[in-house]
């Protein structure tokens, strides 16, 4: 097996008193795409948001167990949460650019890190936009408001914004769910490119997409990790009947 980047140990998660993640344990390999699939409400987003402690912002939510990234439990009391989030980037299901210019959207992460050098910011913005396969479409209008972009472009802008701070891990929550097939294809190609440099965890509702882009696939149901394996095995000979039922579309 490849180098392990994220290790999840007996992880539980509660909203109020309700347990939505039940004793999850899994190892997520470095420089690979790990897909998370499962029926709506099974806890995919919650799991993803646990990896960068995004759930901290939710009132009454509570985590139990450990998630270890590079040998460090990110739920330790003395962990620097802001530092965790810098290392673990996130792209949300609904694209959410800031109401700022295209340039400022990408530069934001650098600015909050205290980067002041105009030249280095410009360089990083260009590189991130190129990495997100958006540069050619926006290079002549970097000062335009980000809301003027199409949905697919906005989502790639959000990817560029996440890349600009050079994270090591990229979490993507259904990044293509609101996009048309062409834009989706672009993002899928992009993910293949990105995995050379990043460890990617991606939630998707689309079975074909999961089969196409991920190296490993985890199947969640009702807050439990049912099965986790190399993608081709999950899709051809899953060990659990319930996984097969889900993949073949017999429910969910």
């Amino acid at each position: 097996m490849d180098n392990c980047k994220i290790t999840v140990h007996n992880f539980n998660f509660y909203y109020g008193g309700v347990k939505v993640l039940k004793n999850i344990s899994m190892e997520i390999p470095e420089n690979r795409v790990t897909g998370i699939i499962g029926p709506s409400g099974c806890g995919k987003s919650t799991f993803l948001r646990s990896i960068n402690r995004m759930n901290d912002t939710i009132l009454g939510a509570r985590a139990e167990g450990r998630i270890v990234i590079d040998g460090r439990n990110i739920y330790d009391d003395d962990i620097d949460v802001v530092g965790v989030r810098r290392k673990v980037g996130m792209v949300f299901q609904k694209s959410n650019p800031f109401p700022k210019s295209i340039f400022e959207n990408v530069a934001y992460g650098l600015r909050i890190n205290g980067e002041k050098d105009r030249y280095r910011i410009e360089e990083a913005v260009e590189k991130s936009l190129k990495d997100a396969a958006l540069w050619d479409e926006v290079k002549d209008r970097l000062n335009k408001n980000a809301f003027e972009l199409s949905g697919g472009q906005q989502q790639r802008l959000c990817i560029a914004r996440a890349l600009a701070v050079e994270p090591e891990i990229l979490l993507m929550d259904e990044p293509a769910s609101a996009l048309d097939p062409t834009a989706t294809l672009k993002i899928e190609e992009l993910i293949q490119e990105l995995k050379k440099k990043y460890t990617i965890v991606i939630v998707t509702h689309n079975m074909q997409q999961a089969a196409r882009i991920s190296d490993f696939t985890a199947f969640f149901m009702l807050g439990e990790l049912i099965e986790y394996n190399i993608t081709s095995i999950i899709f051809t000979k899953p060990s659990r009947k319930i996984t097969e039922d889900y993949i073949t579309g017999r429910f969910g």
Binding site: N52, M54, T57, V82, G83, R85, R86, K87, G89, M90, F92, K94, N96, P97, F98, P99, K100, Y108, G109, R111, I112, N113, C158, R161, A162, V165
Partner: protein, 295 residues
């Protein structure tokens, strides 16, 4: 059937009547101010009225003069000064309430803000005389603390509730997804607030401060009590000043009917009316623009 129809029509008519009444009153006041102030301009030139420093309508040996420029400056000094104090405090409080405070603190704080809004202006003015004034006098070593600064502080207190509640609304209206995007990039709460949330809520905050300012400009009792009432061009915030409102309040009771002085006081009212009207209009335009952006 017929009965409910009548009821429906009556209610409809009532609401319509209310709406019309508001407009009639507004226009009525405007027309009244104009007709009452027009005679003043038979004697005084408009330019002299607006831009001359000297207000001395009761001069007996020299020509009386009717310049309100020092009052306009005083009014703006006091209210812009108030804004300078109230804006950071108000926005800071709003940010605290919307982002930091626990539910419990918020529930205690909000009614307090509303109570603050309900304090009569005489009481605030009183506070200016017995508390703020002496403190200012002590700090700056003045003989008394009744000056523009005092008025600005008091008006700031009065503008705070408006600024706090409207700014808090504006901050709450910022979509949570902006905040999450910022945090996910490794921004601190503070960075998220100052670089994403406040800019996104800016037009709402500007509108809030304009409304607060509109109120401050029209405020009479507080400034009458706390600013020292001196009719001269103020040189600094530590000078005593007399605002337009204070002048009207002081002089209208004593002035002989049907004199130029009498009409000039109405003209001051007209200028005030126009200033507040314009400020309210600007804040309304900004607010509308802001609501469109959020949608």
């Amino acid at each position: 059937m017929a009965y409910s129809r009548i009821k429906e029509n009556t209610i409809h008519g009532l609401f319509f009547f209310n709406g019309v009444l508001v407009i009639v009153v507004l226009v009525g006041i405007f027309v009244l101010l104009i007709t009452k102030s027009m005679p003043a301009f038979k004697e005084i030139s408009l330019l002299h009225f607006l831009f001359s420093f000297k207000w001395n309508p009761t001069a007996s040996f020299v020509e009386p003069s009717y310049g309100i420029w020092s009052m306009i400056v005083s009014t703006f000094m006091v209210s812009i000064g108030a804004l300078f104090i109230a804006l950071p405090l108000g926005v800071g409080t709003a940010a605290y309430l919307s982002d930091v405070a626990s539910y419990r603190v918020r529930e205690i704080f909000k009614p307090l803000v509303e109570i603050l809004a309900g304090i009569p202006s005489v009481v605030i003015g009183f506070l200016g005389i017995v508390l703020v004034g002496p403190v200012i006098a002590k700090i700056f070593r003045l003989s008394n603390g009744l000056n523009a600064l005092n008025g600005a502080i008091l008006l700031a207190i009065m503008a705070l509730p408006t600024i706090i509640s409207l700014s808090e609304e504006a901050l709450k209206g910022v979509p949570k997804s902006f905040e999450e995007a910022s945090l996910a990039l490794g921004a601190t709460k503070w960075q998220t607030l100052t670089r994403v949330k406040i800019p996104a809520a800016l037009s709402g905050i500007i509108a809030a401060s304009m409304l607060g300012m509109g109120r401050a400009i029209g405020e009479t009792m507080t400034v009458l009590m706390a600013t020292g009432c001196a009719l001269a061009m103020p040189k600094s915030f530590l000078d005593s000043v007399q605002t337009m409102t204070a002048t009207i309040a002081i002089e209208l009771g004593e002035v002989p009917y049907d004199t130029t002085h009498y009409y000039a006081l109405f003209a001051i009212g007209l200028v005030l009316f126009i200033i507040t009207f314009v400020i309210n209009m600007i804040s309304d335009i900004i607010l509308h623009k802001y609501q469109r952006v959020i949608k």
